[in-house]
Amino acid sequence: MTRASIAVVFAGSGGSGAMTAGAVFLRAAAHAGYYGMMTQLFGAQVRGGESASLVQVSIAPIETQPDCYDLFVALDWDKVEQFAAEIPLDDRSIILADPASGPVPPGIAKSKGRVVALAMNNPDENKLERALRGKRINMFAAGCVCALTGIAESDVKAAIDTIFDGKGADLIAANAAGAALGARAAPALPLDLRLEPPRKAARWLINGNQAVAFGALRGGVRFVGCYPITPATDLVEWLAPHLIKLGGRLVLGEDELASVNMTLGASYGGTPAMTVTSGPGFSLMIETLGLAVAAEIPFVLVDVMRAGPSTGIASKTEQSDINLAVYGGHGDAPRIVLAPVSVADCVNTGEYAVYVAESLQTPVIVLSDQALGQATTVIDPSAQRPAPLARRVNGVAPGKPFKRYATGGDPVTPMPLPGTPHLEWVAEGLTHNEAGLPASGAAMHVAQIDKRAKKFSQFDPGDHWGEVWGEGDVAIIAIGSTIGPAREAANRLAAGGQKVRVIALRVLSPLPLAALTRALDGVRRIIVVEQNHGAQLYHYLLGHKAIPLSAESVARPGPAPFRPSEIASHVA
């Protein structure tokens, strides 16, 4: 019997190549026409320690971690047990391991999963040969799993060619040989893990961080100021070479204060600009965020959320920067906050963020999270793009002095680029008059706050406000990486006869109250699901009277991902 999807773990000690095994399986599956998603777990060691790659492959798009893994492949057992809590297994799981690696450790064995023996190490091989073969065990395992699931060797070869591109023909051939050996071992195993044939189409293999970065490039970002911080670093590392080749600039600041201010400087000069960070860096940027609001300088700030407060857990996910994104800073400082609703949507939300920032001359925060950012996913190519919006640099009313911050009319006032004759203006963070000169009178203070507020009250995101899936009189409201498991929970409940709709907010601030109210039409019960302890989203929605006091809150900290069963049990 074939299956629609499979969830596989490759785990092993440092140097075992568990990550590469997962990458080969995922890419081979993509070549074969399947959807998929891969996430990773690392031990405490900074580099090169034990690790696990968690790969799901399916005939349908995947947006959530599974409740349980079907197959656990142990490349060895060294320190692998520490991942037990993060890799749910049960008695239907299969544990594929080489008996030569020793017994299944108790933390894994307690799942009662069926242990299937597979000789991955060649006992006839001497120590030197094994050393030379190096990580090939991982290729053996990947090849075997591909064969078990019905993925053709040609697709495995295509994946290996790409993954080891530039590493030399010898290495590619050796890895392909390892995978072929694994494939040959598959038929003898007492397992049937074949997948249903997929609907074949060319797809994208991309992670959420790349997707946000790519969206920003599409939107026109050509300057990035940044400072390394997990889990946002890989975003800028991917971006750097691409941005340079596109004629743009990526500057590594001396800290986040520098990076965000460089970003503003570039934007003032007319280049769409972005900074990328995570919680600790975002906290440092807050003063300048207020400057961008007051001086009306556009820029995009990507926050790939991680577990906080303080340094928290650098590599693991949480949705606990909602308050900081929506409210962070002193004074009345409205800003746009967007949250991508899936890995695929990171592309569009990244692009849209640039357009909104530029057209409203205001900061736009993109709240991603580690679980989206570092999930490598097979998605349908992003074809439907947001309509471009540009900065208003022309159309200055005649008369002297030039009133950069004119009030009373359209709140989005022309922002001439430096270099334009006769329209010199000063970007001003002090309360200023219409010409941009510092002013401390009450009337001008109120007038300028009103001007900026009006940009937000006029902002109409249209269909970008959010997404609604399903119907029914029970609604789950979620953002970011929590949406995937919520949708899967709703699907399961629907299969059991309970209709649940899932409402995802893409625009968090300003809250799209009218659209959300429409989406909640006919709903009797509302459950707000979010990954932080303080129920930040829930209180935000309550504060805006977007949900009634009877709405329920399911809020718990990360880093453990919400799994569909957890959400379903809250709803049912």
Partner: protein, 285 residues
């Protein structure tokens, strides 16, 4: 990055008068404040430099001195406290066609913005940074700054702060600035000469300007008697120049160091398109 001098800045192409660079706004500064002299010097220097006001951007942080951009007819960016240099860096790197000048005070540049000062010198982006040093936080009404004398008495630090003053020139030279000079607000013509020279010199140029705060440091009125032209000849040797500015009493005026470090390379011409980037994600079936 190669260690050669990049092309010098453009030659004058218009004729301007100092008043063409004045916005006409009335400064908030106290009568007698040194910053008036700096404003006059900048206006004269830019007129002499010959680029029109719209091709110049003055970037500043917060402080009395940081108010300067509002008093000039150029483009300006009055940001938050201490962050003028990163703003100017982002601007100059993306708009090399503009004349970018960062200005501010000793508090803005050496305490809250001290880290940016070091790294702006290292980055050596082609721009001018002019600090109006009055050895006090003027705007917040008289607290000791990093350049304040150890024994200067104030409400917040009775009897003196007790710390060795920071030497911005030594730090700038050691950190890689390509042009380092000291000027005096009481000599607007001499300062204007320095500014023109600094603007034309490639790379990151830093001018520390002694600019008295007559309100909180009235004794600084005496500076006009203390300043003198530097006996140091223009130094090309960083170690020697650092040693000289460390030994100096702080009143030697003029160019103290000029180097030939190459400025940061310009951005490349686009080699690929966004469509090329998109193709990298594609997995064929």
């Amino acid at each position: 990055m190669t260690d050669t001098i990049v092309a010098a800045t453009e030659q004058p192409h218009c004729v301007f008068d100092a008043k063409d660079f004045s916005s006409g706004a009335h400064p908030v500064w106290c009568p007698g404040c040194g910053d008036y002299g700096v404003l006059a010097a900048l206006e004269r220097a830019l007129a002499r430099q010959g680029r029109p006001p719209h091709e110049v951007v003055l970037v500043s942080g917060i402080g009395c001195s940081s108010r300067l951009p509002g008093y000039m007819s150029t483009y300006g960016f009055h940001g938050v406290h201490g962050r003028a240099l990163p703003v100017a860096t982002g601007l100059k790197l993306t708009r090399p066609d503009l004349e970018v000048i960062a200005v501010g005070g000793d508090g803005d540049g050496y305490s809250i913005g001290g880290n940016h000062f070091i790294h702006a010198c290292r980055r050596n982006v082609d721009m001018l940074y002019l600090v109006m040093d009055n050895r006090v936080y003027g705007m917040t009404k008289g607290q000791p700054s990093p350049t304040t004398e150890a024994d200067w008495d104030s409400d917040i630090a009775p009897g003196g702060i007790g710390l060795r003053p920071f030497n911005p020139l030594a730090v700038a030279i050691a950190s890689g600035a390509n042009y380092v000079a000291r000027g005096f607000s009481g000599d607007p013509n001499g300062l204007a000469d320095l500014i023109v020279d600094a603007i034309r010199w490639p790379g990151f140029a830093f001018i520390e300007v002694l600019s008295p705060c007559v309100t909180f440091r009235p004794e600084q009125r005496e500076w006009k008697k203390m300043v003198r032209p530097s006996a140091i000849s223009v130094e090309q040797d960083r170690a020697a120049a650092t040693a000289l500015v460390l030994a100096d009493d702080g009143f030697s005026m003029g160019v103290l160091y000029r180097g030939d470090r190459a400025s940061i390379a310009p951005a490349l011409k686009p080699e690929i398109t966004v469509a090329d980037v998109e193709r990298e994600f594609m997995v064929a079936v």
